[in-house]
């Protein structure tokens, strides 16, 4: 038997009584690991599912789309490609009011005119079965079941779309790429492409998307295939999208969704690390005698370290494994929670990479945090067998102790490295590490301040129990720092999550409440606007806003043509491609709307509002101005239906998009666009909910091409999603609270032994149960108040940072609720403190005397 095996078996046997306790300390990291494993596994499942289903979601390997009818050049390109063996299917998507004459029901819907070979991948399952193949046999329609419900219609009924009449022959049971959220904007109606014209809805300027999906021969890479054609298509205002792009952008969206939760998991893991450190500190104090004996018996400090590091590593790994198992459990539950958020059917499978990563990160965090207190065991002198010093004196380490410095450095760099690994950008990782470091520093400082204040402030006139409790805060081996850190960090995390949730979600609810309009009519032609207006007013309803809409594209910025620019991807510095190439639906008005506020420059002055020569003025939404990388004073030349119109940016506006009112990226000074062909958007206010349908029906009967949207139903749908999101965040906050509990237990247990010994001694000397309870109460309530309040203040700073810089919305601290969180933390501390005190009451004085 070599020494290594000897050490191993000694480590195993020696841990006999401590395994359960050590495992309890290590369980601090379990929840953090669980969060990481669950999130990683689940997002990997989603991304895998997206990969498998992306062709079906898109309907092909490639899509071309345009908001305008495809030009002859594009059509001839498609023709020549299809002669080359590539299959194409066409889908024209446009909004329409769907009317069921039998029941007089109306509903805003998304119509998809499809060619006979659509979809090229995947199948559309209908109810009754097999109706998809019947679609093209006449003027038929296959609709989402929700349409039938709202129209009170059934299969076999006639459906009117614009000027066209169709027969509903079935409902969609399962279609590729079905996303719950899309249905908010109207149920889908599939009709044969050749009947689209009959609706007469695709008139000038109306909202429509023409897309062509292509199926490439097997083993042809869509990106390589389209590469040489991309530029030609873009010049024809056709956007090209490949299946790999779809996969990537979906993956991006999923990562956005999960990275916030992942960061919370990571912070929970760090909090767990602090729990491990304080738990192991307690463990180490219990091992002083054993280590001293081992040293007497010839163990080197390396052997001593080997024994305890082995124990800690094994238990840390077990704690991480328990967390990983829990994480896998959560992973299998998640799909039920997020159905509707993700556009694919999620295939939940075990992801070994995620589990192993979780184990590795968790095990490492546990080990590195345990190592710091364990290092103190190196210094335990064999002399302790003859003369035992106090625990804190034995375990004291010098600041300059080099292994300690190395461990500290490893600890910090591990945290930074893991943050870099998890965060989406190095900047995010930096801020995350900096915030964690600042929080720990602030908490340590406030703990030091409390110790100092307790020492200075202690008055001999106070009752004995209070003096004793307060003195515990600064006496040698006190737990002030450990408990303040654990508590404060827990409070910080929980309150920050709460504040972020409150501030971000408030944007939606207050904004929705503030808007007065509830029905919006769009695609109103120039000659129809007066008619729509009179129908609304005639019904006794209000017209809140009538906004002209002019479609246009950017021709040049500051004299430089868009075609000569090198656009960048969204989020990168420079001019974003999507913003340069998009079709803008702009308006003109003389006053800012209620939902917008000028943030830079000045709104149009009297000169700009007067027709005359000179360059026109525009106001840009501040978000789009960042994407376009322009400033006030820059010039933009617009291509408005073939006419170039030069303009100068004179202001930026902050727009509350969530107010459900017609809002625009670009607002023109009226004289500039007054001559341009336009459509109108009309926002009406209908007080009686039951009158909404009547109004919609009245308008669609007279103007079949005008679509209208009941905003109340959209608000309700958004509220449902917001509700689900807030539930998710509340769950995360609760989860962090759950993490804080074992950490707090570990922190308290670090000095539990000293408190018990002391309490029993006091009891022996005649102290009553009540007195001992009050001593503990004095100490723990001060710790709780300090930790809770510091955490609260930190969370206001942290919440402000996240809300302001990550979510980019204004921040207001919700003082009362976070005071509530602080109160909960304080009660929890008291409870845990008194639970520790229970042992004092349980033990008899004689047992304590015999023990010492």
């Amino acid at each position: 038997m070599g020494p290594a095996r000897g050490i191993w078996s000694l480590a195993w046997r020696e841990s006999r009584n401590a395994r359960r306790r050590l495992l309890l300390y290590m369980s601090s990291i379990s929840l953090g690991v669980a969060a990481l494993v669950a999130i990683d596994s689940f997002s990997s499942n989603i991304i895998q599912s997206v990969k498998e289903q992306s062709r079906a979601m898109m309907g092909g390997d490639l899509t071309f789309n345009s908001s305008k009818p495809l030009t002859p050049k594009v059509d001839s390109l498609i023709d020549s490609l299809s002669r080359g063996g590539i299959e194409f299917a066409r889908v024209t998507t446009f909004p329409s009011m769907a009317v069921a004459p039998r029941t007089a029901g109306t509903r805003f819907a998304q119509v998809r005119g499809v060619t006979g070979n659509y979809p090229l991948y995947g199948t559309i399952v209908t109810e009754p079965a097999g109706r998809w193949s019947e679609l093209h046999k006449g003027a038929n329609a296959i609709v989402d079941p929700s349409l039938l419900t709202t129209l009170n219609a059934r299969v076999g009924d006639v459906l009117r779309l614009g000027f066209g009449t169709f027969t509903i022959i079935g409902t969609v049971k399962d279609a590729p790429g079905a996303a719950g959220i899309a249905e908010v904007f109207g149920p889908r109606i599939y009709i044969p492409a050749r009947y689209v014209a009959e609706t007469q809805l695709l008139v000038f300027g109306s909202t429509a998307d023409r897309s062509v999906v292509a199926k490439l021969p097997p083993r042809v890479d869509p990106d390589k295939f389209i590469g040489p054609l991309r530029h030609r298509l873009q010049n024809e205002q056709v956007r090209v999208r490949t299946v790999t792009q779809t996969e990537m952008s979906t993956a991006d969206a999923i990562e956005n969704l999960t990275s916030f939760i992942g960061i919370v998991g990571l912070v929970a893991l760090l909090l767990g690390g602090i729990g491990v450190a304080s738990g192991v500190r307690a463990f180490v104090a219990r091992k002083i005698d054993t280590v001293a004996v081992l040293r007497c018996l010839g163990a080197s400090s390396g052997q001593v370290m080997a024994i305890y590091v082995t124990q800690a590593a094994a238990m840390g790994l077990l704690g991480a494994a328990a967390g990983a198992a829990l994480g896998v459990g959560v992973q299998f539950l998640l799909p039920n929670l997020i159905t509707g958020f993700v556009p694919v059917d999620i295939d939940v499978t075990l992801v070994p990479a995620a589990v192993l990563t979780g184990l590795a990160i968790g095990g490492w965090i546990a080990l590195i945090f345990a190592l710091r207190p364990l290092l103190a065991l190196r210094n335990v002198s064999p002399l302790q067998t003859l003369r035992r010093d106090t625990d804190s004196n034995v375990l004291r380490m010098r600041w300059t102790d080099s292994p300690r410095l190395i461990v500290d450095l490893a600890l910090v760099s591990s945290v930074v490295a893991i943050a870099l690994m998890r965060a989406r950008t190095p900047e995010q990782a930096f801020w995350m590490s900096a915030a964690t470091g600042a929080a720990i520093l602030a908490l340590s400082l406030s703990a030091a301040l409390l110790s100092w204040a307790a020492r200075r402030g202690l008055r001999s006139g106070w009752p004995y129990v209070v003096r004793q409790g307060v003195a515990n805060l600064y006496r040698p081996g006190n737990q002030t720092r450990a408990v303040t850190l654990a508590l404060g960090f827990g409070a910080f995390l929980v309150s920050t999550l709460y504040l972020v949730q409150k501030n971000v979600l408030r944007q939606f609810s207050t904004a929705a409440a503030a808007s007065v309009g509830n029905v919006v009519f769009f695609d109103v032609q120039q000659d129809q606007s007066a008619g729509v207006d009179s129908i609304i007013r005639g019904g006794g309803h209000g017209v809140i806003q009538t906004a002209p809409v002019v479609t246009m594209r950017i021709a040049s910025i500051n004299g430089r043509s868009v075609t000569d620019m090198r656009p960048v991807r969204r989020g990168e510095p420079g001019r974003a491609r999507w913003a340069l190439r998009r079709e803008f639906r702009s308006t003109f008005r003389d006053k800012p709307a209620a939902s917008e506020k000028v943030t830079a420059g000045k709104w149009f002055g009297p000169a700009a509002l007067r027709p005359g020569p000179g360059i026109g003025e525009i106001s840009l939404e501040s978000g789009i101005s960042e994407e376009l990388n322009v400033k006030v004073g820059d010039t933009i030349t617009w291509n408005v239906q073939g006419v170039e119109i030069p303009t100068r940016i004179t202001s930026f506006r902050l727009v509350t998009w969530t107010r459900f009112e017609p809002n625009f990226f670009v607002v023109f000074a009226p004289p500039v666009l007054e001559a341009a062909p336009r459509q109108y958007l009309v926002l009406a206010q209908v007080r009686d909910p039951s009158a909404v349908v009547l109004l919609q029906r009245a308008v669609v009967n007279r103007f079949p091409n005008v679509s209208s949207l009941d905003l109340t139903s959209i608000k309700r749908a958004v509220d449902r999603i917001v509700g689900r999101a807030s539930l998710a965040i509340r769950f995360m906050a609760l989860f962090s609270f759950a993490v804080a509990i074992p950490v707090l237990f570990s922190a308290v247990s670090a000095t539990r032994r000293a408190r018990v010994r002391e309490g029993v001694l006091l009891k022996t000397l005649g102290a009553t149960r009540g007195q001992i309870a009050r001593i503990l109460l004095a100490e723990y309530s001060l710790l709780g108040v300090l930790g809770g309040l510091t955490g609260m203040l930190l969370s206001i700073a942290g919440g402000w940072g996240v809300v302001r810089y990550v979510f980019k919305v204004p921040f207001t601290p919700a003082i009362a609720p976070i005071m509530g969180i602080a109160a909960a933390i304080i009660s929890l501390t008291l409870l845990i403190g008194l639970l520790a005190g229970r042992d004092v009451f349980r033990e008899t004085p004689i047992a304590a005397l015999r023990d010492s």
């Binding site: 038997m1 006999r16 007497c296 163990a299 003369r387």
Partner: protein, 229 residues
């Protein structure tokens, strides 16, 4: 052989220097049975710690079996203890999480000695606890615990055994039996035994007595006759 040369130990307490041992010198030949006696605070335990290499003197040297302890670092001293030194303490100092047998095995396992379990079993039997090897320290009486500690001290066949008040926590009869056990191990195995005690009767049974008072040796008597006991 154990040599102490002008060993002095001082502690700094604030700006005061407390001299615990001053210029202690003696030579103890291999196989001797020496008692170090003296009243509380005379420096007995400090001296024991210095002789065993648990601590280092402020001045002077300790040579243990030809190794100058002052020239060794902490880990080298630990190795030396593992190989040549055994300890018996007043408070037994058994590792509470290990059984009696496992406690005896510890020094062997630290060195990676083959056949640790057999040797430990043999030692446990020699101290008369053959049937109780699987008990934990808390399940044993004080006398039994001290016998386990002695078995552990002899696990490595040490050249020298230090015993700090080994009978201090035991009644007279049990203490007597422990002392006899030490004596027999001394005469059978040839280990040097250094015993620190208050107990004058116990001390009188050693072959040599070194008496300390206020940190200095005030008496050093040999009693060759006692060896025959």
């Amino acid at each position: 052989m154990l040599i102490a040369r002008e060993v002095t130990k001082e502690y700094q307490s604030g700006d005061q220097t407390i001299v615990v041992l001053r210029d202690v010198s003696f030579t103890i030949p291999q196989g001797a049975f020496v008692a170090i006696v003296g009243p509380s605070g005379s420096g007995k335990t400090t001296l024991l710690g210095l002789l065993a290499g648990l601590d280092t003197p402020t001045r002077g040297t300790v040579v243990l079996d030809e190794s100058d302890l002052g020239r060794l670092n902490e880990n080298q001293r630990a190795r030396l203890r593992g190989e040549k030194v055994g300890f018996v303490f007043q408070t037994f100092q058994l590792i509470p999480t290990l059984t009696a047998l496992e406690n005896v095995q510890v020094p062997l396992e630290l060195r990676g000695t083959p056949g640790a379990t057999e040797r430990a079993r043999d030692l446990i039997a020699r101290v008369g606890l053959g049937a109780r090897g699987h008990h934990f320290p808390t399940q044993l009486s004080g006398g039994e615990q001290q016998r386990v500690a002695i078995a552990r001290a002899f696990a490595n066949s040490p050249k020298i055994l230090f015993a700090d008040e080994p009978t201090g926590n035991l009644d007279a009869a049990t203490g007597g039996r422990i002392f006899e056990l030490l004596q027999s191990l001394n005469s059978d195995g040839g280990s040097t035994i250094i015993l620190v005690t208050h107990d004058a009767t116990l001390a009188s049974r050693a072959s040599r007595t070194i008496r300390l008072l206020d940190g200095a040796v005030v008496e050093d008597t040999e009693r060759p006759a006692a060896v025959a006991v």
